[in-house]
């Protein structure tokens, strides 16, 4: 079947339409969903097509998250819209103490098929409380799966896999990428299994290991690097938990160098985890230290010159690559 060009938003909506038509236990829950089909228009057509299965809630994050958990435990497959990923803090007990632990604590008695959809990321001048990238918090919580798509096809394939998954999935999608377009397969059974990375640009000199908005930084950087004779391989991790360490290893064994790129601030970010695993598992294959590129360790400031300064840029990726390539 042929590919179509569509935005990340449209890809998300298509995944939801297909899945909701397939399985009537799926429903969507969150604030301000029906009037404008979600505050980013991300649920286009769903209020009309599936009335009663997309529910507007009061501003009550703990109860929204809790309704997700409780309904998942009792036969439904909720998709919880968290408005801005920054507000996960307001549902943290339900996500981290409840959803993440219930199956395990109770000895595997139940399944908890819930997707928490979290629009995240900076660059919209939305300041400190509406711009964060918080995926690492959840990677640090055993019991949650963590997915961070980049291109529209990934959004669709990973959302479908997340919905079909029987465990709780935190799904982070970058706000600035909603309108970005890309090829999306038309096959309604197009699914990207969780835990499968993609080598999106093969190269031989350095591995750029990335996800989410970092992917586009890496692709831009790779183009520039090519002009200088450095052939970068770009690996889009797509899901952080489960993590496709096999694809990472294959890439590093080929290039002997790794730079990890994400928009989240560097300290304690997912890059730290991945760098630790690479040095532990691939030490003999490394010709240089593993470097990380991410935002500076401050909250996201409002004013454009400061926000731009804090966020990682292709130039930062290029500089890190040159360091590990000793150029």
């Amino acid at each position: 079947m042929s590919d179509r060009i569509m935005s990340a938003s449209a890809a998300l909506a298509e995944a939801l339409h297909e899945e909701m038509a397939r399985d009537e236990t799926i429903f969507i829950l969150g604030e301000d969903l029906t009037a404008h089909a979600g505050i980013f228009g991300q649920f286009k057509g769903i209020p009309e097509k599936f009335p009663g299965r997309i529910l507007d809630t009061p501003i009550s994050e703990a109860a929204i998250a809790g309704c997700g958990v409780g309904s998942a435990l009792t036969g439904m497959r909720p998709i919880v819209d968290f408005h801005f990923s920054d507000f996960v803090t307001c549902g943290m007990d339900e996500f981290c103490n409840q959803a993440a632990k219930i199956r395990y604590m109770f000895g595997g008695q139940v399944k908890l098929p819930m997707v928490v959809w979290c629009p995240d990321g900076a660059g919209l001048r939305a300041a400190a409380q509406h711009s964060q990238s918080l995926e690492a918090w959840f990677v640090h919580t055993p019991g949650l799966k963590v997915v961070v798509p980049s291109e529209p096809a990934d959004v669709k394939g990973l959302m479908k896999a997340s919905i079909r998954d029987d465990d709780p999935v935190m799904f982070f999608q970058h706000k600035r990428l909603f309108r970005r377009e890309g090829h999306v397969p038309a096959d309604p059974e197009f699914i990207i299994p969780l835990g499968r990375a993609a080598v999106k640009r093969p190269g031989k000199d350095v591995s750029l290991l990335t996800y989410g908005s970092g992917f586009f930084l890496c692709m831009d950087a790779a183009l520039e690097l090519a002009k200088e004779g450095i052939d970068a391989e770009v690996v889009d991790l797509r899901s952080l938990k489960p993590l496709d360490m096999e694809t990472v290893a294959a890439s590093v064994k080929k290039t002997f160098r790794a730079v990890i790129v994400h928009e989240a601030c560097v300290t304690g970010g997912f890059g730290a985890e991945l760098a630790a695993r690479i040095q532990a598992e691939l030490f003999d294959h490394l010709d240089a230290p593993v470097l990380r590129v991410g935002a500076k360790d401050v909250p996201i400031p409002f004013s454009p010159p400061m926000e731009d300064f804090v966020l990682p840029k292709p130039a930062d990726v290029i500089a890190a690559v040159k360091t590990v390539c000793y150029r």
Binding site: I59, E61, Q129, S303, P305, M306, V310
Partner: protein
Amino acid sequence: MSTDKKKLLEMYRTMVTIRQFETMAGEYFAAGQIPGFIHLSIGQEGSSTGVCSCLRPDDYVATTHRGHGHMIAKGADLKRMVAELFGKVTGYCKGKGGSMHIADFSIGILGANGVVAGGLPLIAGAGLSIKLRKTDQVAVVFFGDGASNRGPVHEAMNMAAIWKLPVLFVVENNQWASTTPQGYACALGDLCQRAAGYNMPGYSVDGNDVLAVRETTLKAVAAARQGEGPSMIENKTYRIRGHFEGDPQKYRDQAEVLTWQEKNDPIRRFEEHLVKSQILTKKKSKVIWDEVKAELDAALEFAQSSPYPKPEDALQDLFVNA
């Protein structure tokens, strides 16, 4: 309750300042000069002005994403406010916060908040601090009808009640929380009914009647200063603009907006009252509007001619001792 003429005119000027500030902000946002997103309080001037007219400079206020009016009514400097909206280094937060995060701790404003209901637990803390320090200050938190459905609201109200903290919980019921009508999201008719759950006084007030707001607030402030504990005030009002500037507003009938705008404008209502009471003339009112305009023009000029922060300034202000 009698309020002297000077105070009444001051309140009128405050309301006019908020209206003009918000109108200006909307225009400059539309023109692309204000980054990010802004939430305006046009039509809600009676609440901010009425409440803050009862406060002293050393009293505390915690505000919301729709907080420009509260700031102005508490006495904030227009120049530094406009500069913050524009992201300039001369702004209140040196450009780090923007519209949603303005604060002026020197006049007791503990900050706007990007997290709905974020101010309530903090205001309980300010109230506790007042109590521990044994002063007669009061701490006021503004929040929306939508915010009143969040859990932290209830934790804060309960704690303030059991410890008799000098706190005012002011819910501005502007009928809408983003796209959600108030009546959909809460089963109560009057939001002040929540006060009963914490055994504190609760008042529902016509929030577009600035004098009614003032009268109720004076009562609640006096009780708080005398150690009688917290109160809740619901100011019933209406959000005239979209939730944020640029909101397509498919969720409401513009006729509803027009009705409020034309029949229940808090500034016009107060103006009519002042004229009838021979405190204000049409001529004097025009002078006030013009003076406010001149003051705002100066603030705009200040903001526009101010520099942006340096990129590296982003690394400052995180810790006291890095």
